[in-house]
Symmetry: C2
Subunit: 280 residues, 2 copies
């Protein structure tokens, strides 16, 4: 049996440290979560974030807008939160309903409050391997590797999935750690060949069951970033039952990357708090 990379347990342990850090701050860090519409997926994500915030002593302002809200209204609210000194971080819960221009909305967020690390400036800082806000999922994966003492320098990593808000930032973050990264996607001709030769496979495709026992080799580490709601249950992109019998280590879904993402978001929030209060 493989080692289970237990993101839930690690996140719980690290949460205690973050809670201790927050207890020393003058006021509680406050995150605005903007939700448009009422997707089941976004409801689940937001619930997890609120629960975590409560546990560590952070505040969440949940701004819930109807799916027919004007984009200008969303943006003017973001600009208001940018100026509001009692707000330390702002995120837009993704995915947005299809008719919204995600990029335009995200770009309205002040880079110093962009705790999801998705504005242009933070993207460029990640590109330049400089100190900005690293997107929570990418950061959570790096923290997981670090805590399990998995050094990425020179490792062959096959990244499956290349969305601009998840896959690509993860690929960049892995490059920044010195890994040799291959980015695969729907146009990739022989996915099995690409995954089987890797030291580490990171999957963020959003396709349950995409990675089967035929895609993996013994000795590999598998990180499953996929989150799909299926009959009310969260499932990943990897056939966990069969794959976990072959590989060396694997993240479960739920309880792997998900909790690490939530933890990293609030780690970024505390960073934003400290950054903004030092500029007062």
């Amino acid at each position: 049996m493989s080692i289970i990379l237990d993101g839930k347990k690690l996140s719980n342990r690290l949460a205690l440290k973050l809670m201790a850090k927050i207890s020393k701050l003058a006021i509680n860090p406050k995150l605005v979560i903007i939700q448009i519409g009422n997707l089941d997926r976004t409801n689940v994500y937001i619930k997890k974030k609120k629960e975590f915030a409560e546990k560590i002593g952070a505040k969440v302002l949940h701004e819930k807008y109807p799916k027919n809200i004007q984009i200008e209204k969303v943006i003017s609210n973001i600009l208001k939160f940018n100026k509001d000194r009692s707000i330390h971080g702002i995120i837009v819960q993704l995915p947005l309903p299809k008719n919204f221009d995600t990029t335009r909305i995200i770009m309205a967020i002040d880079q110093r409050k962009d705790v999801d690390g998705l504005t242009a400036k933070n993207t460029r800082l990640l590109f330049d391997k400089k100190n900005g806000f690293v997107p929570a999922t990418a950061k959570g994966i790096l923290t997981l590797f670090k805590n399990y003492k998995i050094d990425l320098t020179g490792k062959k990593i096959t990244m499956v999935g290349q969305s601009s808000l998840v896959g690509r930032p993860i690929a960049l973050a892995l490059l920044n750690e010195g890994a040799t990264v291959t980015v695969c996607h729907t146009h990739t001709r022989n996915l099995k060949e690409e995954t089987k030769r890797a030291d580490i496979i990171v999957v963020a495709a959003g396709h349950p069951g995409l990675i089967t026992k035929n895609h993996v080799s013994s000795g590999q580490i598998v990180i499953d970033v996929g989150i799909t709601l299926k009959n009310g249950k969260v499932v990943g992109d990897v056939d966990y039952e069969k794959v976990s019998k072959i590989v060396k280590a694997i993240t479960p879904v739920p309880g792997g990357v998900g909790p690490m993402t939530v933890f990293s978001l609030f780690e970024n929030l505390v960073k934003a708090y400290l950054l903004n209060s030092s500029n007062l």
Copy 2:
């Protein structure tokens, strides 16, 4: 013998079309090139750009600053050019002397005049596969592929080199075309293995002779982005003489990617001209 991907010939042919386009504009598009210090390399690059501009009817304002200039002075000049309606594009000739913060200087350029495509906003647009200014080298390579009818969808491309201003933008541009891209660098453990298995090798390492006959297989396409001045001569990263006997197609240095980069810069300048004049 392999097919020579003749960037010089193609650039000359496309320059005629660009010249025809420019001849129909109300005024000649004008590019500011900012040079700090007096590196041989930057002198060579700027000379090529000025020659090309003259040929097609574009104007160049060459701003040459001493290497001890204050960064604030450079930035305030950029801000002035941002506002100047007679200026359509602004580039900073790289590399800058070591003591300058390249990112900070580039970030001062208005995204609409960023014809090198290196500001945060254009980086994010490239990330999102949206319509911004694609960095000239990446764009030049895509144009070369297109004109030689080389479709990138599903192709395995090994990218050697991952600098934030050249290698990474090229890797993203190749991903945007549907290629499966592996990014290699100094930490990559077995470079030969990564290059030999590719359909296409793109090298932007700045190490003359890095890619030898032992790195390539027959049937491959090799794109050499390397530009190093060696005894007054421009040399690439590939051992051209030996590699060209094995592979299917290859770009020479000089006369390959270089002229395509210069052409693409001025293609971006004309795009910036049209973009800004439509906003008047």
